[in-house]
C-alpha cells in the first residue's frame, strides 16, 4: 500500500524512461570519471562523503558535478551494463555527463530520464523511495 507524500516538478533535461528507486542525495559534487566505478556504479572516490554507496538503481540527486571529459563515457557504460541510476536529478545541467544519456538513447538502450531541480528541494526526498515520470514529476512513494 503506497501513497504519494510529496511531489516536485522537475524540468526535463534529457527525455527518457521513467524511473523509481531509493533517493541517493549526494552531499558534495562528484566527478563521474575516477569518482564512480563504471563496472558497478559504486562511488569510488575515497574523498567523497558518499564513498562506497552505489548509484545503480537509485534516483540520483546531484548538487553539482566536477567536469571530466570522460564523464559521459562512464555514464554510457553504466547504462549499457545495467548499473545506471533509475533517474537523474541535477541542480544544473552538465552537458558532458548528460551526453552519456543522449548517446545511450541513440544506441537504442533503455535510458533513464534526467531532470533539473533546484538543490534546495533535494532534502525532502532524502532517505525516501522516489519515482520520476517521463514528464519530470518527482513523487515520494511512502510504504
Amino acid at each position: 500500500m503506497s501513497k504519494v507524500a510529496d511531489t516536485a516538478q522537475g524540468e526535463i533535461l534529457v527525455a527518457g524512461e521513467p524511473g523509481s528507486g531509493p533517493a541517493l542525495v549526494l552531499s558534495a559534487p562528484i566527478s563521474f570519471w575516477g569518482g564512480v566505478d563504471p563496472k558497478s556504479g559504486t562511488i569510488a572516490d575515497v574523498r567523497h562523503p558518499e564513498h562506497g554507496r552505489s548509484v545503480a538503481g537509485s534516483v540520483l540527486f546531484l548538487p553539482g558535478t566536477i567536469g571530466s571529459s570522460s564523464a559521459s563515457a562512464v555514464l554510457l557504460e553504466l547504462v549499457h551494463n545495467g548499473h545506471a541510476p533509475a533517474a537523474l536529478v541535477l541542480h544544473e545541467p552538465d552537458a558532458i555527463l548528460l551526453l552519456g544519456l543522449i548517446v545511450a538513447r541513440e544506441m537504442g538502450w533503455r535510458t533513464p530520464v534526467a531532470v533539473r531541480l533546484d538543490r534546495n528541494g533535494f532534502q525532502s526526498f532524502a532517505g525516501k523511495d522516489v519515482s520520476v515520470s517521463t514528464e519530470g514529476l518527482l513523487e515520494i512513494s511512502a510504504v
Partner: protein, 418 residues
C-alpha cells in the same frame, strides 16, 4: 534564444546523408542545446580522444557510426589508444577487453581518422592555423592547441569529439568565442630566480601550481623573459590541465594571443594577481612526489605528453650508451618512432634498457609490472599526477637528468634541486 540549426544541418539530422551522419548531428545539436549555444559553427579539424577503450559501450558506439556509413568530414587525428599497435611494448590487457579495444581501433580507422595514436598531434604535423575553430579532445592537446597555436577549441570529450568530426560542426560556445579567451587572472613568476625559470623542471612544476591556482579560468603568466621552447610549453600545459580544468593559458610575450600583458587582458584590469614565491614553487614541486623519502626505484617513465625527437636527443645524450639498472619507459607516437627507426636509434635505446612505448602510454593501459609498494620516477607533471591512481606506483618527481642517473644507478638520485 535557443538553438537554431540551418536547413542543411536539419537535413543531416533527419538522415538525408545516412544514419551515421544523422546520429552524429543529433549528438552535436543536443549538446549545443544543453550548453545553451545559439548555433553550430564549422570546424577545420578534430583530434579524437574517444578511441581509448574504457568499456564495451564505447566500441559499440563507434561501430554503430560505421554501420550508419559515417565518415569524418574534416582532418581527424587519433589520441592514444589502449594498445601498442607498433608492438614496441607489451600491454597486459586481457581478453575479452583486448579484442574489444582492437575492434574500437578498427572502427575509428573505418570512420576515416588518421592513425596518429598520439597525445602530441601538434608535433606530428597536425597544427591548425591561428584563429581557426577546431574540435580537439585530450586535455594537454586542447590546452596546447588553444594556447600555443592560437586555434580555438573547447575540451571535447568522448562522443562529441567524433560527432563533431563527422558533422564538421561544433556548438558555438566557450573558447570558440573571442570574449571568453581574455585572461582574467595574472600569474606572476617574476620573483622566481632566472636559473629556476631556465631549468627543465620549472615548467611542469609551475604548470601544476598554475592549474591548482587558476582552475578553469583563463590566466596570463608574466615574468618570462625568453621563449622557453615548445617542449617546455607542452610540459606546462599538460601539468596545468592535470591539476586544474585549464583549457587556455597565455604567457605575456610568448604565446600568440599575449603579445603583451595588456593584449592578453583585453585592456581590462585583472580580477586577481597571483604572485608566485620561491616557497610556492618548492611546495608545488614537492607535491608532485608521493614517495619523497623512498630509496627504492622500480621504473622510470617519461613521455607524457609523448616525447618529441628533441626530447629523445636529450635522453640519448644523458644515457650516453650506458646500460641502465632500472628500465626507462619512453612513451611516444609513431611519428617519432619512424624517425628513430630510420636512424637506427631505437635499437641503441632498447639495448640500454629503455622500453619504447608507442601509440599509448603507461598511465592509460597496464604496461608497468604489477608490484606491491613499487616506486616510479618521472619528469612529467602529468605522469606524476595520474600514476598513483592509475598504476598503483608511488611517484618521485625529478628532472630528466635525475631520472636517467637514477635509472643508471638503480636508486633515486637528486642533483637538480633548483
Amino acid at each position: 534564444m535557443g538553438l537554431t540549426l540551418t536547413a542543411e544541418e536539419r537535413a543531416v539530422a533527419d538522415g538525408m546523408f545516412g544514419a551515421g551522419a544523422a546520429m552524429a548531428m543529433r549528438i552535436v545539436a543536443e549538446s549545443a542545446r544543453l550548453l545553451g549555444a545559439p548555433r553550430l559553427i564549422p570546424i577545420a579539424s578534430a583530434h579524437i580522444d574517444g578511441a581509448l577503450y574504457h568499456g564495451d559501450s564505447g566500441t559499440l558506439f563507434a561501430e554503430k557510426l560505421v554501420e550508419g556509413g559515417a565518415r569524418v568530414a574534416v582532418r581527424s587525428t587519433l589520441n592514444v589508444g589502449a594498445l601498442d599497435l607498433m608492438g614496441c611494448s607489451r600491454v597486459r590487457l586481457e581478453e575479452p577487453a583486448r579484442g574489444m579495444a582492437r575492434r574500437m581501433t578498427e572502427a575509428y580507422r573505418r570512420l576515416g581518422c588518421e592513425q596518429s595514436w598520439t597525445c602530441a598531434p601538434y608535433q606530428a604535423g597536425h597544427r591548425p592555423d591561428f584563429g581557426t575553430d577546431v574540435a580537439w579532445g585530450e586535455s594537454n592537446a586542447v590546452v596546447f592547441c588553444n594556447s600555443v597555436l592560437g586555434a580555438r577549441t573547447n575540451r571535447y570529450g568522448d562522443f562529441l569529439d567524433i560527432a563533431s568530426a563527422i558533422t564538421g560542426r561544433a556548438p558555438d560556445y566557450g573558447l570558440h568565442r573571442p570574449e571568453n579567451r581574455r585572461a582574467t587572472l595574472v600569474f606572476d613568476v617574476s620573483a622566481l630566480p632566472t636559473t629556476f625559470l631556465a631549468s627543465e623542471i620549472a615548467w611542469p612544476v609551475l604548470g601544476s601550481l598554475y592549474g591548482r591556482e587558476v582552475g578553469n579560468a583563463v590566466g596570463v603568466v608574466v615574468g618570462v623573459d625568453t621563449h622557453p621552447g615548445e617542449d617546455a610549453l607542452k610540459a606546462f600545459g599538460a601539468a596545468a590541465a592535470s591539476s586544474g580544468a585549464v583549457g587556455l593559458f597565455h604567457i605575456a610575450g610568448v604565446t600568440p594571443e599575449a603579445t603583451t600583458l595588456a593584449a592578453a587582458l583585453g585592456g581590462r584590469e585583472p580580477e586577481a594577481v597571483i604572485r608566485v614565491t620561491k616557497e610556492m614553487a618548492a611546495k608545488a614541486r614537492a607535491s608532485l612526489s608521493t614517495a619523497a623519502a623512498s630509496d627504492r626505484l622500480d621504473a622510470v617513465a617519461i613521455g607524457s605528453p609523448h616525447l618529441s625527437l628533441a626530447e629523445f636527443d636529450a635522453l640519448e645524450r644523458l644515457v650516453a650508451g650506458r646500460r641502465l639498472a632500472v628500465p626507462i619507459y619512453a612513451c611516444t607516437g609513431r611519428h617519432a618512432l619512424a624517425e628513430l627507426d630510420r636512424a637506427g636509434r631505437r635499437r641503441a635505446l632498447e639495448t640500454s634498457g629503455i622500453t619504447i612505448v608507442a601509440d599509448t602510454c603507461v598511465v592509460v593501459t597496464p604496461i608497468l609490472p604489477e608490484r606491491l609498494g613499487a616506486v616510479l620516477m618521472t619528469n612529467s607533471g602529468k605522469f606524476a599526477h595520474y600514476a598513483p591512481g592509475n598504476t598503483g606506483y608511488a611517484v618521485l618527481y625529478g628532472s630528466l637528468r635525475d631520472c636517467v642517473e637514477s635509472a643508471a644507478s638503480g636508486r633515486p638520485v637528486f642533483t637538480d634541486l633548483a
